[in-house]
Amino acid sequence: MSTMAECVRLDSSTSTHTMDKSITLPPDEIFRNLENAKRFAIDIGGSLTKLAYYSTVQHKVAKVRSFDHNTKEASSDKLYEISVQEEVTARLHFIKFENAYIETCLDFIKDHLVNTDTKVIKATGGGAHKFKELIERKLGLRVDKEDEMTCLIKGCNFVLKNIPHEAFVYARHADSEFRFQTTYPEIFPYLLVNIGSGVSIVKVESEDKFERIGGSSIGGGTFWGLGALLTKTKRFDELLQLASRGQHTSVDMLVKDIYGGSYGSLGLTGDLIASSFGKSATADKEFSKEDMAKSLLHMISNDIGQLACLYAKLHNLSRVYFGGFFIRGHPVTMHTITYSINFFTKGEVQALFLRHEGYLGAIGAFLKGAEEDNPNQYSWGENYAGSSGLMSVSPDMNPMQRARSGTFDMLEMDRLERQLVNLPLLLDPSSYIPDTMDLTEDALAREYWLFCFEDALDGVVKRAVASQPDMPEAAERAEKFRHKYRHKLQTLRQQPFAYGSLTVRSLLDTREHCLNEFNFPDPYSKIKQKENDMALKYYQKAVKSLDELGWEERQFALVRGVLAGNVFDWGAKAVSDVLESDPEFGFEQAKRQLEERPWLIDSYDQWFERLKGPPHKCALFFVDNSGVDIILGVMPFVRELLSRGTEVVLASNSGPALNDVTNGELQILTERIAAMDSVIQDGLREDRLTLVQSGSSSPCLDLSRLDKVLANVVRERKTDLVIIEGMGRAIHTNYYAMLSCESLKMAVIKNSWLADRLGGKLFSVVFKYEVPAEKLSPDSAGLSPL
C-alpha cells in the first residue's frame, strides 16, 4: 500500500522489441567522432535509449600572429599573418534512439571506436539491467549502474546552467506553443516532478543537495496500465492519441451534472470535474475508448498537478519542472498538466518543461562518470549544427510525426574555452532577455528573417570557398555547409521553437556553428586582414583632423565617426564596394550616408551634457567590426575617453564571427596603433586601456553569458559606463537591456526591413544614452522614448 511512488522507467516486460539490425547508420551524422570517444554512459528507458559520450573534436581555427617588424622578416606589407591551425576541443554527444536499435548501435560503436582506454560505461534507467549483459559483451566495457534520481538531477542542473532557453511553458493554441523562460542566473531552488510509471517529487536546492520530498503512485504507469485495461489499447502513444480525440464529459461527473450549473458560492464552474469516471458508475451504457482515455488522462494529470502544487506550497517553491515519459514532449500531457497547475495555483505557479528532458538521465550518468574531469567547472554551449532540436509533436498537426521509428535524435554540447557568467552591471539579471525580437512569436518577422538568411546563403557559401583558395575540397565542404544550414532553416520554418526562442542571434549562431562544422572557421579572415591594413594607414590622419576640432565639435565628430565606421559591414554591399578601393573616401562617403540629426533614436544632447561633467571612472566598450569601424571609428573615441581620464576596457569576441574583430586581431591592432599614438600607448602601459575577450563567437551579444575574466575586470575597475556598438549587439540584442550604470548604444540600421520595423529608414541612427533611474538627476531626464 501507500501512495508514495518511485520514479522508474518502464519495466522491460512491457516492451516487445525485436532487434532490428536492418538499419545502417550514416557515420557522419550519427555517433560522430567515435574515434576519439571516451567516457560512455547509457540511459535505457522503457522504449528509448539515450547514449552519451565525450569526444575531442579536431577543429580548424584561424589564428593571427603579429609579424616581428623589428627583424624585417615581414617582406609583405601585411600587418599580421593568418594561419589555420588544428585545435582540439571537447564535445559531449548525446544520442536518443528506440530500444529496438540497441544492438545495431552497439555494433556500430564497437566498429568505430578506435583506441579508447575506456573500461567502464555508466548506466542508468529501468532497462539498464536488461541490457547489461549485451552491452558488456558487445563493447567489452563494464556496466556501472548509477542511481536514476541522482543522474536525473545532475542532468537537469547541467542543462539549466548551460542552455539558456532550456525551460519553457506550454500554451496550446497560442501563437507559439512554447514560451521559453529565463532561468538565469540562479537556477536553484526548484521542484522536479518526474512522472515515470509513478511520480517522484524532488526538491533541488543546490548542485549537490536534493531531496525526494514526496511522490504518488498515480503516474504514467497508471495511465498506461489502467488505460490498457479500459480500452484494450496496448501502446502508450496510442492511448494518448485516443485521449486527444475523446470527450471526458461523457464519462466524468461534472459540477453541473450535480448542481445543474455552477457551484457559485465556492466559485466552482459547472464544467469542473466533480467525480472522475462518476458517470460510468450510474449510466448503463457503453463508453467509447476515446472518452475513457481522455477522462483517465484528465484524472491523472489533475491529480499530479494538485500534488505538485501542494508540495510547492509547503516548500515555498515557485519553479516547478515536469519530466518523465508521461510528459516527454507530448503536447496532450503538457497541456493537461499546465491546465491543472494553473487551476490549483490560480496562475501563481507555471508548469515548466525542458527541451532536453529526455536526455537528463544520460547527461547525469555521464557527468557521474566524468567527475574526475569536473565538467561543471566549464561552461558548455549547445551546438546547433549537431543537435536535432525540439521536434514538433503536436498530434493535431501531424499524427504520424510521433512515429519516430528509425529516427535518431541528437544533442551536442561544446565545451567553451571560457567560463561564462553574467555581466555584473545588468540591472535585473533574472529578467534580462538578450534578444529584441522573438521570432517564435512574431510570425511576420520570422518570415522575413528566414527568407533573409536563406537568400544570403549563396553569398556565404561563395565567401567560405574563397577564404580557402589553397584547399581544393573547400567547394565540396561548402556545399555540405549549404545543405546543412538550409536544412536547419527549413526545420526552423516548421518548428521555430526547435532550439529555444528563434531570434536573429540564434540564426546567426546556427550559421557560425554550421560553418565551423565544415571547417570554415573564419571565412572573413583575409578580408578582415586587408581591411585592417588599409584602415590603419589612415589612423594618424583621422586622429589629427579630430584633434584640430574644438572640444564641442570633436565630441560630435567622434560619435559620427563611430557611427560611420559602423556602416562598414560586409552585409551592406553598397558601402563595401567603395571600401575596397579607397577606405578614406569610403569613410567620408559613409558619414554622408548617415542620417542627419535628429536621429531615429537621439539622446546625443544628453550625452553631450554628460561629457561636460566629470569623467567616467571606467568604460566597457563592446566593439563590432574590423577595419574602419574599429580603427577609424572606435579607437579615436577610446582615445578621447582616455584623455578625459576614463579607463577603457575593450571587449571583443573570443572567436571569429563574420567580419567582427576578434580579440586576437584587436591585440595586434592596438599594439600597432600604440606605436603611432602616445595616448593609446600610455593607456596600455599604465593599464588604463585593457583588452578582454567577451567569451563569445557570435555577431550578437548575450550579456548573461560573458567571460568570467571580463566580469572580474568590470567589477574591479568599478565600471560606470557600458558602450555597445553595432546592429548585432545593440539592436538585434540588448536594445532593451537595462543596466545598473550609464549605457550608450550606438548603431546604424543597415537593413531596410528592420529600419521599417523601428520606424526609420535605411542608415537610420540609433544613439541611445541611458542613465538608470536612481542615478538620474532631475535635469538630465528625458531619455530616448524606446
Partner: protein
C-alpha cells in the same frame, strides 16, 4: 471536486446541545438569504455575539412560536446518493393525534414501518437515533438513502402521498437541491429551501457528535493502524475538536479546514472519489453496485495489479526511505500484457479501492501539513461498510506522518449534510 480553498464565515451560532434556537432571535434581526450566504463570506472571525442571546425562558417561548409544523425532513441530494433524515416524533399527544392530518400519518407510517423503499431506498436502521429531543419534541431520527437517479420515483411518491398539502418547508442541500429544484416544483408541487452543502455538513457533524456524546461514541479511530493484527476500532471523544480537517468523500472529495463551528474554509478537493472507485470498478469488473464492488475488493489482491517498490528495486529503496511494500505505480503491472491476462476482477477492484483511498490519504496529508492541522475526520458515503478504506486511511495518515496525524471516523458517515439541512429547518440561521 477539485478546487481551491474557500473561506467561509457566517454568523451562525451553531447548534447547542439543549437544542434551543439560540440563533432565532438574532436571525430575526439580521435576516439574510441562506442560499447566498456563502458568497458573502469574508475573514475568519468567530462570532462574538453569543453573549447577547436571550434568556432560557424567552427561548422556550420562542421555541413554541417558531417550531415548524411536522413532518421534519432534512435532505442532501448528492451526485450519486440522496440522503434523507426524518424525525419521527414519539411524544405525540392525543390531541395532536386527532389534529394530525391523514397524509402526515401515512408518511410517518410508511417511513417508520419499512426499512426498504421501492427497489433502491434503504433505511439505515443501525444508525437510528432514538429518544432524541429536538426543538422541545422527543422522537427518533431516521436515516434513509436512495440513488439520485431514483429521485423521480421519490418525487412521484411525494405527489401520491400529497406531501405538498402539508405546507412544510423542505430543506435540501447538495448539488441536487439546485439541479432538481424545478422538478420538485413541477412534479411534486414542493418548494425547496436550498442550503449550502458545506455549511450543512459541518453543522451536521458537530450536532451529531454532540448528541452522541451521551450515548455510544459517534467518533472513533483505529488503534495500532500499522499493525493489522492489533488494529482495532476505538471510541474517540471529539472534545475541543478545532482545528480539524474534515474530508468528505462522496462522489468527489472536499477537504475543509474547520477552525470553529462557524469558521471554516474549503482547502481543496479532488475528483478522485467514491464515484471514481465505483465508476472504474463498473468498467473494469462489470459490477453495478457499491456493495458488489466492495465485496469484490475484499477478495482481491492489489499487489498483482500495482507495481511495488520491491518489484523494481527488489526491496526497499533506501536512498529515499521507501519501503519495498509501497506502491510505486498504481496499475503499473497492467502495462504488461501477460499480467493483464493473469489478474482477476477481484484484484482489479481491490487495486481501484487502494488507489483511490491512498490518493485521498496523500492529498489529505499534504493539506494537513499546509494547514498545520493534526486531526483529520473522514466522512462521506464512500466509507460506508468500507472498513478496508478506513483502515488504509488510518494506516496512511499514521505511517507517512510518523504518527503525527490521526485519522478519525464518524458512525453516521454520509448523513451529516442531511442532518445539517434538518437543523436549518428547526433553527434557521
Amino acid at each position: 471536486m477539485a478546487f481551491n480553498g474557500h473561506q467561509r464565515d457566517d454568523d451562525d451560532g451553531g447548534i447547542d446541545e439543549d437544542e434551543t434556537p439560540t440563533k432565532q432571535l438574532r436571525s430575526e434581526k439580521e435576516p439574510h438569504e441562506p442560499g447566498n450566504e456563502a458568497s458573502s463570506s469574508g475573514g475568519r472571525a468567530t462570532s462574538e455575539r453569543r453573549s447577547s442571546n436571550a434568556t432560557p425562558r424567552l427561548r422556550r417561548d420562542s421555541v413554541k412560536k417558531t417550531r415548524p409544523p411536522f413532518p421534519w425532513f432534512g435532505m442532501d441530494i448528492g451526485g450519486t446518493l440522496v440522503k434523507l433524515v426524518y424525525f419521527e416524533p414519539k411524544d405525540i399527544t392525543a390531541e395532536e393525534e386527532q389534529e394530525e392530518v391523514e397524509n402526515l400519518k401515512s408518511i410517518r407510517r410508511y417511513l417508520t414501518s419499512n426499512i426498504a423503499y421501492g427497489k433502491t431506498g434503504i433505511r439505515d436502521v443501525h444508525l437510528e437515533l432514538p429518544d432524541l429531543t429536538l426543538c422541545g419534541r422527543t422522537g427518533n431520527l431516521h436515516f434513509i438513502r436512495f440513488p439520485t437517479h431514483d429521485l423521480p420515483a421519490f418525487l412521484q411518491m411525494g405527489r401520491n402521498k400529497h406531501f405538498s398539502s402539508l405546507h412544510t418547508t423542505l430543506c435540501a442541500t447538495g448539488g441536487g437541491a439546485y439541479k432538481f429544484e424545478s422538478d420538485f416544483r413541477t412534479m411534486a408541487d414542493l418548494q425547496l429551501h436550498k442550503l449550502d452543502e458545506l455549511d450543512c455538513l459541518i453543522r451536521g457533524v458537530l450536532y451529531i457528535d454532540s448528541v452522541m456524546s451521551r450515548g455510544p461514541s459517534e467518533c472513533y479511530y483505529f488503534e495500532n493502524p500499522t499493525d493489522p493484527d492489533r488494529c482495532v476500532q476505538k471510541p474517540y471523544t471529539l472534545e475541543n475538536p478545532y482545528p480539524l480537517l474534515l474530508v468528505n468523500i462522496g462522489s468527489g472529495v472536499s477537504i475543509l479546514a474547520v477552525y470553529s463551528e462557524n469558521n471554516y474554509k474549503r482547502v481543496t478537493g479532488t475528483s478522485l472519489g467514491g464515484g471514481t472507485f465505483l465508476g472504474l470498478c463498473c468498467l473494469l469488473t462489470g459490477c453495478s453496485t457499491f456493495e458488489e464492488a466492495l465485496e469484490m475488493a475484499s477478495q482481491g489482491e492489489s499487489t498483482r495489479v500495482d507495481k511495488l517498490v520491491r518489484d523494481i528495486y527488489g526491496g526497499d529503496y533506501e536512498r529515499f526511505g521507501l519501503p519495498g511494500w509501497a506502491v510505486a505505480s498504481s496499475f503499473g503491472n497492467m502495462m504488461s500484457k501477460e499480467k493483464r491476462e493473469s489478474v482477476s476482477k477481484e484484484d482489479l477492484a481491490r487495486a481501484t479501492l487502494v488507489t483511490i483511498t491512498n490518493n485521498i490519504g496523500s492529498i489529505t496529508r499534504m493539506c494537513a501539513l499546509n494547514e498545520n492541522i493534526e486531526r483529520v475526520v473522514f466522512v462521506g458515503n464512500f466509507l460506508r461498510v468500507n472498513t478496508l478504506s478506513m483502515k488504509l486511511l488510518a494506516y496512511a495518515m499514521d505511517y507517512w506522518s510518523k504518527g503525527q496525524l490521526k485519522a478519525l471516523f464518524l458512525q453516521h458517515e454520509g448523513y451529516f449534510g442531511a442532518v445539517g439541512a434538518l437543523l436549518e429547518l428547526l433553527h434557521p440561521s
